[in-house]
Symmetry: C2
Subunit: 385 residues, 2 copies
Amino acid sequence: MRDVAVIGVGMNKWGELWDVPLRDLFVEAALRAMDDAGVDKIDAMFVGSMSPGLFVGQEHIGSMLSDYLGQKHIPGTRVESACASGGLSVRQAMMQVALGWSDIVLAGGVEKMTDVDGGGATYSLATAADQEYECFHGVTFPGLYAMIARAHMHRYGTTLEQLSHVAVKNHKNGAKNPNAQYPFEVTLEEVMGSTMVADPLRILHCSPITDGAAAVILCPLDLAKKFKKHSVVAITGSGQATDTIALHAREDLTYLKATEVAAKRALEMAGKTIKDADLIEVHDCFTIAEICVLEALGVCEVGKGGKLAESGETAIGGRIPVNTSGGLKSKGHPVGATGVAQIMELTLQLRGEAGGRQVKGAKVGLAQNMGGSGGSTVVHVLEAR
Amino acid sequence: MRDVAVIGVGMNKWGELWDVPLRDLFVEAALRAMDDAGVDKIDAMFVGSMSPGLFVGQEHIGSMLSDYLGQKHIPGTRVESACASGGLSVRQAMMQVALGWSDIVLAGGVEKMTDVDGGGATYSLATAADQEYECFHGVTFPGLYAMIARAHMHRYGTTLEQLSHVAVKNHKNGAKNPNAQYPFEVTLEEVMGSTMVADPLRILHCSPITDGAAAVILCPLDLAKKFKKHSVVAITGSGQATDTIALHAREDLTYLKATEVAAKRALEMAGKTIKDADLIEVHDCFTIAEICVLEALGVCEVGKGGKLAESGETAIGGRIPVNTSGGLKSKGHPVGATGVAQIMELTLQLRGEAGGRQVKGAKVGLAQNMGGSGGSTVVHVLEAR
């Protein structure tokens, strides 16, 4: 197995981009990543996207996007694992480089969610849950995560205020990210008093509907050292795991077992423990998710995620900064692109190029990207070299 | 890179299976493959599926199917490249084994097409073409392939009778395949006189709408030798390529460049030429496709595919048997499963277990699986060991 590096990153400014089609979203991000790397030709491409079929009536985007990126006849593969599609794109690209089948591989992700065909964005997103045993009965993701939140509050005494601290922190970070959909701060009072979506989750506890794309360029570590544009960042660990797709079938409603397992696999591959991480990007599709993920990663004890959120330890400058990019909450959540943008954020941080949100001296980063209510998870470990 | 073998294959009997949900289709095929291999635990799973979102309102099937297969917490990844999704599933599984990240990996494919949500099967399938520049104007796949057929007839003098010979041969083979959707023979007259779909293509020139799944189990070649149930079959080559997604953007309407490129890559990896193949499975979604594919593979000269079809050389017992399984035409075409079922057919043939459709002394097989009107292609080479 060859060691693998990230040599280029790019995304567009995320938001409600009504006049930008899916292909243009992707090509813009991909060209930025290629420009960042200093390459004009790639050997293969992966793209994570949850449901271009339901959102815009377009499948087969591995072909379409290779075509529109001007990369004739390259292998172009779409991977999907709901909101973890982007992380899987990075994982498959890493495999292809590590195996030696390709040298310069683009891992992208894209979702065009606002201008939606069919049943609307909430219906399309709900297809990541169990269609026959969850969706059929009317539940959608705000409802599923609300049940997780209620159970966590009941069992561990987690409070609405603690949930709200996650949003306040992530918006504070996102305000320093020029690519974020909502680059502004919110107060604890604003979050706690915002419109109810699914009790106890209010709208400022939820990530938004977003149009966006992100891309990273991977190559063998040896080759990366020849590119002098940026300091070298390696991907040293990748882990993937599944859990029951339906929330009701889990052994524990509030424990994200797939996150634990995927992180264990990724950290073992990298020869690290969670204590080695200088910063973490996690999948905060709802604020309760950040709390549960940090427990499953072992950043805090199980049940103590709420206390961690209000402690300030996960802020930039704290013990372990989490979601320096703004997270899904502030940066936005074009589902297939999210996992790729996490890798972009870690790369910028490990290069020391993260501007106003830089974590000083960051050497090791971990990204956790999750599908559905935790039915799939992919974790990567990145290191400055 | 580790050498990779196929140690188990399985599918269900394909057809209009109104009372079988997607998850049951897949689990039946997967359990048959695991039983054929003699394993009850897999380390990872890939599943090819074109559009479970549009067909049955379910994405995130990597999670769902790992769950329903009882393989807790394994990595489960869906890949999609329209009708080439199954071939890509096999390719990604091969990579994971070759790299040494997993030992026993299931590559499956599934599509549930009859009981369709939304705009119907033809709409859902059309999302494999260019939504903005083809589908928007009303064209669907029978129309696209009809244009290819018309151009081929005009340029090379290919006849309706030659197109029809492809269907006659594939149904003759499929009649000997107990898993085929339409296991019966058809006459030249029946094909030529069948209902018009898109001039010149009649209904017996078109592959059907099918519910079905297929699965193969891969492992390192060294490990495969320890399984004594079947003779050993290795996957020695894998190639993938894309072309423009839109037919009108191709340099040549009737030449499948992605097939040429993918086959070249796969054959080079295997150290073979097309002349070494003892049998070939190709993507005959329409009879004209088999003709164009065999030209792009170099089985005959460009423009001579029609003559090849009527020559009898591609029949079992001929110079180079093509689609011994019955092909998409007779076996059926649950799009995500098709590429996996091709690998199953080659494996059975190379083991000498293909019953009444056995190609005597077959040692090398090639499978070509195609997405859209040729916008993506994946080719594999298998060899008896």
